[in-house]
Amino acid sequence: MDLFSAHSVSKQYSNHKALDKVSIHVPDSHIFGLLGPNGAGKTTLIRIINQIIAPDEGELIFMGRELQPNDIAFIGYLPEERGLYKKMTVGEQAMYLAQLKGLSHHEAQQRLKYWFEKFGIRGWWNKKVEELSKGMQQKIQFLVTIIHEPKLLIFDEPFSGFDPINANLMKEEILAQKEKGATIIFSTHNMSSVEELCDDIALIDRSKVILSGAVRSIKKTFSTNTFGISYNSFEEPLQTILPPEFQVLSESHDMDHRHAQVKLPAEATPNDLIKSMLPHVIIYSVNEKIPSMNDIFIQAVTQQTTQPATRD
């Protein structure tokens, strides 16, 4: 079941269309990647979900009904442009933001205590925000985003500004939130984190969704049946021992081995490749060249650019 879905949402600014009939489906307890190049309309969509701005048209369904103003209590949002009041102490600030999310004074205090303990930052409570490093501030921001235990968490470029150690900590914490049953929308153009975290994605380019679905099935559709093979004891071009419909994309060698990438026809399997090579060479490894999300991203976006959408 979808925790959240948007149905042909559009938003027009005076000189450009930020969103053009965008539909997304965010399944319950999944991590959903909202991908796209800069200026594609990701942040506009996120702001619409957070009801910071209103869409011109379209429908937003949250927990099986239309999205309501009160629902911001069930949403935690970590914006891309984020910060804290510099002159306030960490504790005051965290209390303020937690209470704005609808927690009572008592609840806020107890939960913050738990989290400060967990992150090992109890000593920061009375520090001014300006005394903290950027990474430390990010931790506080992350913490107040999840403090009210929202059903839907929205992270806009969550790892920008984190060092690798803290980024990892956040990654683990995001996965822990998913385990607890939260649904997460995760906007980024950092594709490696998408591979690690996301179950589903939607790729937005120039105000339109150009690709969406489960990561696994998208990868399957973008798979080209290409294999990388490492072998030895054969000096001739590889193509000479392969059937002509097997296409050698590249060949190279280092001190120990020779490497090649071979694109198989759709009906062929890696077994056919190995079979034809086996009499001539020693094979060290064969592995499928699965397209990375990065490749898919670039491929989808460039395709979009070279072949303008036929819809309009």
């Binding site: 600014y13 510099k86 704005l100």
Partner: protein, 475 residues
């Protein structure tokens, strides 16, 4: 079913309102507390009253110290006040026996400071007098005259009352009742006589001072705290916290919370200033004047309760002592219609601030840093500065067309109306001005809300007026 769902809807609606209110309160509280706890606030709160007290006490002290002798000619048609004006250290009185027109022409030729004319009254005791002068009349002089006149009339009233009481001694009458029944206030109109003998109505300095003072106060308050609102908005924008917050509250709530919070800070500071200034002035002046008067107010009250005749006589006697210096000025201040003045001040002070604060918030929302505010500040500050620049003309002619239009137009009315009010403004004009100011406030807040909610999410973009206009038209 429909009924049930409607009930459910209402319930949700109420809950929504409740949480909205709670959030606005949280915002107001934060805005208030972070500012009040700042060191600069505390320093300003202490320094302000010291400066203000100094500006009040020093001129008064100097004024009471001047030894310049002022002569006042008295033309008393009633005869009641003959020889009642006793000469003081720096006022001399001499009495005329003539008619007013010759007295006036004589006065123009003489070196006298002022000519006091008490016209004849038929039935009642005289409570009006006209003070002619070439320059503005010294406050000490007019308040001394006023004091002597009212004391004299009160004494006459008291004698009449006492003889009345002696003839029928049936019921006991309290001192308070008698004091109240004889209480008299005297109106003194001051008229300016020009070199050419032409008369024009002149206003007492105290009205001018009060008007200017409250007008300037409002001007400063708007600038000081309006700019604080603007700076607060810019701070939220540059520290990038604004989007975190507006994912919990609506931009309009954040804006209003800030405006109200900062307004309360201003009000707190203002009240502390008034209380502290009053405290300092009271302490200093009581030290200054204790040698002259010798008796404290409480002692007077104790006396009054001792016995009726002695008390009344004693009270009057003690009040009859020359009301120079501080007391004289206090007397003059008391002549202003304070309930109206204070009521109007609070209204124009608050609504004027709210109107401008919304505009300042919109500017803060539209720009990225304080350096970029100039082009938008200009049109907003022009009416404020103009109303201060025009103040001196308005004070010369507080009922003229310039004064009227400036005190009606919402962007200038907070300052200009406050300048006019001590001189007396027709209620219909005050109400018209207030209604227009309220409408202006609603208008600017609506406009500001639209600019603000788009602006706070725009970073790194130089904004033009054309752009602002687009923002206003967004749905």
């Amino acid at each position: 079913m429909i009924f049930l769902s409607r009930q459910l809807h209402n319930k949700q609606h109420n809950r929504q309102r409740e949480t909205d209110m709670k959030k606005i309160f949280l915002i107001i509280r934060r805005e208030y507390l972070t500012r009040v706890k700042k060191r600069s606030f505390i320093v300003m709160t202490i320094l302000g009253p010291l400066l203000m007290a100094a500006t009040i006490v020093v001129p008064i002290y100097l004024a009471t110290r001047t030894n310049e002798l002022k002569t006042v000619a008295v033309l008393d048609e009633t005869g009641i006040f003959f020889e009642k004006f006793k000469d003081t250290d720096n006022i001399r009185f001499h009495y005329l026996v003539s008619d007013i027109s010759t007295a006036k022409s004589d006065f123009s030729k003489s070196d006298d400071h002022a000519l006091l004319f008490i016209p004849k009254t038929e039935v009642t005791l005289p409570t009006n007098a006209i003070l002619y002068s070439e320059k503005s009349v010294n406050i000490n002089v007019s308040s001394y005259i006023k004091n002597v006149m009212s004391k004299q009339i009160e004494e006459l009233k008291l004698q009449a009352r006492l003889s009345e009481l002696q003839t029928d001694k049936k019921e006991p009458v309290s001192v308070d009742d008698i004091l109240r029944s004889i209480k008299t206030s005297v109106d003194i109109n001051t008229m300016k006589i020009g070199e050419d003998g032409k008369e024009s109505k002149s206003y007492t300095e105290i009205n001018m001072i009060l008007g200017m003072f409250s007008g300037i106060l409002i001007y400063f308050f708007i600038f000081l705290f309006g700019a604080q609102v603007m700076r607060g908005v810019i701070e939220e924008k540059t520290s990038r916290i604004v989007e975190v917050i507006i994912s919990s509250v609506r931009p309009f709530q954040l804006m209003m919370g800030k405006i109200i919070g900062v307004g309360l800070v201003g009000l707190t500071q203002f009240l502390l200033w008034v209380i502290l200034t009053f405290g300092i002035v009271t302490v200093v002046t009581s030290v200054m004047s204790s040698k002259d008067i010798g008796k404290s107010a409480t002692e007077q009250m104790m006396h009054q309760k001792e016995s009726m005749n002695a008390a009344v006589a004693g009270a009057i006697a003690s009040q009859k002592e020359s009301p120079e210096g501080m007391e004289g000025i206090m007397e003059a201040i008391n002549s202003v219609n304070f309930p109206v003045m204070i009521g109007a001040f609070i209204f124009f002070f608050l609504v004027g601030y709210l109107l401008y604060a919304a505009l300042f918030a919109a500017i803060g929302g539209a720009v990225d840093s304080e350096a970029d505010t100039q082009q938008f500040m200009f049109p907003i500050t022009i009416p404020l500065i103009l109303s201060i620049v025009m103040a001196q003309y308005i004070i010369q002619d507080p009922d003229g067309p310039v004064a009227f239009w400036f005190s009606i137009f919402p962007l200038t009315s907070p300052v200009t109306m406050m300048i006019r009010i001590p001189f007396g403004v027709p209620y219909i004009q005050v109400i018209l001005s207030m209604v227009l100011l309220l409408l202006g406030f609603l208008g600017t807040t609506w406009l500001a809300g639209k600019i603000y909610r788009t602006g706070i999410l725009m970073y790194g973009k130089k904004v033009s007026y054309k752009e602002l206009w687009k923002w206003i038209r967004y749905k």
